[in-house]
């Protein structure tokens, strides 16, 4: 085959593409109200009222936005000068101002500011796009514009962070943290139920569980890693047990570490193994014993629970837990658990009240 180098006389032109991006929330499937289980498990009650760090950040951003918005609205000319935008774009600046004020007000007047903060993120992105366009237009002072873009970009990053945290943070009800995590495992409900039901298997996949001893027909004794190398122990009892389907448990009355949970095993659709769902509730506790369970569930109990459930899946599907602990590297010490720790952290988890 003869091949050739294709060359032409056509002039080089750029074809910038059009962009559009939007995030969309998934809608629940018909036939079932999703999320009902954890609601049922949770008690009703009021939030604890005081502001979390994220909320404080959100309100700060809200006021900042209003201030900036007013400036944009009242003094577009001066702002245009300060940011390097051509004067003829002052209409644009006014619109940006209105947008800032609207979302700022949204944040400070709402009890749950997450939505309004997301609107700030969207607004920031639009501003950035406008500044991007301005970059290429005649009469723009590129140096000043670059500084403005950088400032807006910084604000975007902050808004994004805040919105994500508000959206995904731990929710407490009446001081109880509720976590639901599920995973599909390619084994039968019966296999999974049996392995789970033998609580002495827990140390093989639950990172913080040192040992579990069966002390009675429904009772077991747990030893778990606590803060700073300590161990913490408690007794638990099975409250519901339905073969191949469900196991529920709770810590015994008077136990310092107060939690309860259940695991359900349901055949996954399409014969794809088993849908395993864990519902867990615990009280973010006070005192030493309290911080033990906080160590276990970490900064983000949902992640921690999911990591443990993933290890359960690994054991059941592959026969081992994947690891890099103990592999070589060109540095002192191992970092393999660094990222794990980033999730679990230590100390009391951040919580947020909900009404």
């Amino acid at each position: 085959m003869t091949t050739r180098s294709l060359q032409g006389t056509s002039p080089k032109t750029t074809r910038p593409g059009k962009s559009s991006s939007k995030t969309q929330e998934g809608s629940p499937a018909t036939g079932q109200q999703l999320g009902a289980v954890s609601d049922r498990l949770s008690e009703n009650g009021n939030g604890n009222g005081s502001l979390t760090q994220e909320e404080q950040l959100a309100y700060g951003l809200g006021w900042f936005g209003i201030g900036l918005g007013l400036t944009e609205l009242m003094m577009p000319r001066r702002l245009a000068h300060a940011t390097g935008l051509p004067i003829r774009h002052r209409g644009l600046i006014r619109i940006m101002g209105l947008r800032e004020i609207a979302s700022g007000l949204g944040i400070i007047t709402q009890r749950r500011p997450a939505g309004a903060v997301w609107s700030r993120v969207a607004g920031d992105v639009i501003d950035l796009a406008c500044l991007g366009v301005a970059f290429t237009s005649a009469g723009a002072d590129r140096k000043k514009l670059a500084a403005a873009v950088t400032a807006v970009a910084g604000a975007t990053a902050l808004d994004l962070l805040c919105a994500q945290q508000l959206t995904r943070d731990v929710v407490t009800r009446n001081g109880t943290i509720a976590v639901t995590v599920s995973l599909i495992i390619d084994r039968s409900p019966g296999d999974l139920y049996s392995y789970w039901h033998d609580f002495t298997n827990f140390p093989s996949f639950m990172k913080h569980v040192i040992s579990v001893q069966v002390t009675g027909e429904r009772r077991s004794h747990w030893v778990v890693t606590g803060p700073a190398g300590s161990t913490v122990e408690w007794d638990a009892e099975v409250t519901e047990d339905s073969a191949d389907t469900l196991i529920a448990w709770r810590t015994l009355e008077g136990s310092d570490v107060d939690h309860r949970g259940q695991v359900r095993f349901e055949p996954a659709p399409g014969k794809r193994g088993t849908l395993v769902t864990v519902d867990l509730q615990y009280r973010p506790p006070a005192g030493t014993l309290g911080s033990a369970i906080a160590t276990w569930f970490g900064q983000n109990p949902e992640h921690s629970m999911k990591m443990d459930l993933r290890r359960f899946k690994q054991v059941m599907e592959t026969g081992e837990v994947i690891t890099t602990e103990g592999q070589p590297a060109g540095r002192q010490g191992s970092t393999s658990w660094k990222y794990d720790r980033a999730v679990r952290g230590s100390g009391t988890p951040r919580t947020r009240g909900r009404t």
């Binding site: 085959m1 091949t3 050739r4 180098s5 294709l6 060359q7 032409g8 056509s10 002039p11 080089k12 032109t13 750029t14 074809r15 910038p16 593409g17 059009k18 962009s19 559009s20 991006s21 950035l128 991007g132 873009v149 950088t150 970009a153 975007t156 990053a157 599909i184 390619d186 794809r272 193994g273 992640h303 999911k306 990591m307 993933r310 899946k313 690994q314 599907e317 592959t318 026969g319 081992e320 837990v321 994947i322 690891t323 890099t324 602990e325 103990g326 592999q327 070589p328 590297a329 060109g330 540095r331 970092t335 393999s336 660094k338 990222y339 794990d340 999730v343």
Partner: protein, 388 residues
């Protein structure tokens, strides 16, 4: 043992590290005989992939001899000569059973982190940041291979290392990119990037029945290697790529377009500086220049196949073109294990000799020099193979 480790942007170094040991019973230890530097390593080298740690051992294209196996390793024996696939895959999960090995659900110990970035985690990968597990790589004298029965193919004597080494990544990667194009007789396939992945995509597209292949790059020796492999070529610095492709296809556009460039694309237009700026300000993580061009050039109803690596967010993605032209996008880390045996057979049958791509042979100790040469495309460098 000696290993090539990452210490920062454009900074790798060969240092002494402990030998790897069996950590799980399905692991094997392989004594490396040949190891390569991949275009994907350059993304780490240039600091575009987050979650690298100082001292991480690099490398995901390697082969060698099995020197130790765990109790649960069933097929491999000490003394076997093997090529190792770059994704780490359990062989038991939903995705492995469906031969989508690079999506294995059980091989990334840091899956939660990838989930934050991507919504879900891909498989673990050797020497490719902690986002994909932080596994020690194969630019070393020895390597630990988890799930060794699944991730290796045995090589009989008679084939040289250089003929089979690229089964670990770039040959299957180029092949899957072409396979994803669903090539029919008469098809024209355009391929952006004539690096090693592009070279294998060219030859695979022709093997799979493409009538014509057009390859795009600006590096003369890479364009020449593409022509040697049977492609027509376009130097994107000399000619407008879109116009040239339209002339070549009577205005209809190529039936499939392959982006074998990835997130560090270069362009001789202002758009390049736009993307560079946004990347520097962390407003986008990737420069999708070749991707945009491939989408715009692809014929209506055609396929854009993307073996090029992207890590995060891109800007000015012509989604309108994808939608209104009814394009199909196909992409992914390569499901390498799926191709090990079929492509080994192609090599044995003489359909292809992958060693054509090798331009430089170095000692492992010279890895830092190798990275610089390959990254800067100096000295006619297209592919580097290193031996311990």
């Amino acid at each position: 043992m000696k290993a090539n480790c990452w210490y920062g942007k454009r900074h790798v170094q060969v240092v002494d590290v402990p030998d790897p040991i069996i950590l799980n019973q399905r692991d094997a230890i392989v004594k490396i005989t040949s190891t390569a530097i991949c275009g994907s390593d350059l993304h780490l080298y240039n600091g575009f992939v987050p979650t690298m740690e100082q001292g991480d051992i690099m490398g995901h294209e390697f082969m060698g001899e099995v020197v130790e196996v765990g109790r649960e390793v069933k097929k491999l024996r000490v003394g076997d000569r093997v090529v190792v696939a770059f994704p780490i895959s359990c062989g038991n999960c939903f995705f492995c059973k469906g031969e989508m090995y690079s999506l294995c659900e059980n091989s990334n110990p840091n899956a939660w982190m990838a989930e934050q970035f991507f919504g879900h985690s891909p498989a673990g990968i050797f020497g490719y940041s902690h986002l994909t597990g932080g596994f020690a790589g194969g630019q070393a004298e020895y390597v630990r291979v988890p799930f060794a029965d699944v991730g290796t193919v045995k090589i009989e004597n008679g084939l040289s290392d250089e003929q089979v080494l690229f089964l670990s990544d770039i040959f299957p990667t180029g092949y899957m990119a072409a396979e994803n194009c669903n090539i029919s007789p008469g098809d024209t396939v355009a391929i952006w990037g004539c690096g090693p992945v592009g070279q294998f995509a060219i030859r695979s597209a022709l093997m799979l029945g493409a009538e014509r292949v057009v390859a795009i790059d600006r590096v003369p020796e890479r364009l020449k290697m593409a022509r040697d492999g049977g492609a027509h070529t376009i130097d994107y610095e000399e000619t407008d790529v879109y116009d040239m492709l339209m002339q070549f296809t009577g205005g209809r556009g190529p039936d499939s377009c392959i982006d074998a460039v990835g997130l560090e694309a270069h362009a001789p237009t202002p758009l390049y500086y736009y993307d560079r700026l946004k990347q520097a300000m962390m407003l986008e993580s990737d420069r999708p220049i070749a991707l945009r061009e491939a989408i715009m050039a692809c014929r209506n109803g055609g396929t854009v196949s993307i073996p090029g690596v992207y890590g995060g967010l891109i800007d000015k993605m012509p989604m309108g073109a994808v939608m209104n032209k009814a394009l199909t996008l196909k992409t992914g880390q390569t499901h390498t294990q799926r191709y090990l045996k079929p492509l080994l057979k192609r090599i044995k049958d003489g359909d292809i000799d992958p060693s054509f791509v090798v331009t430089h042979r170095l000692k492992l100790a010279d890895a830092p020099q190798g990275f610089a040469t390959f990254n800067d495309k100096q000295d006619g460098c297209i592919k580097i193979v290193m031996t311990p």
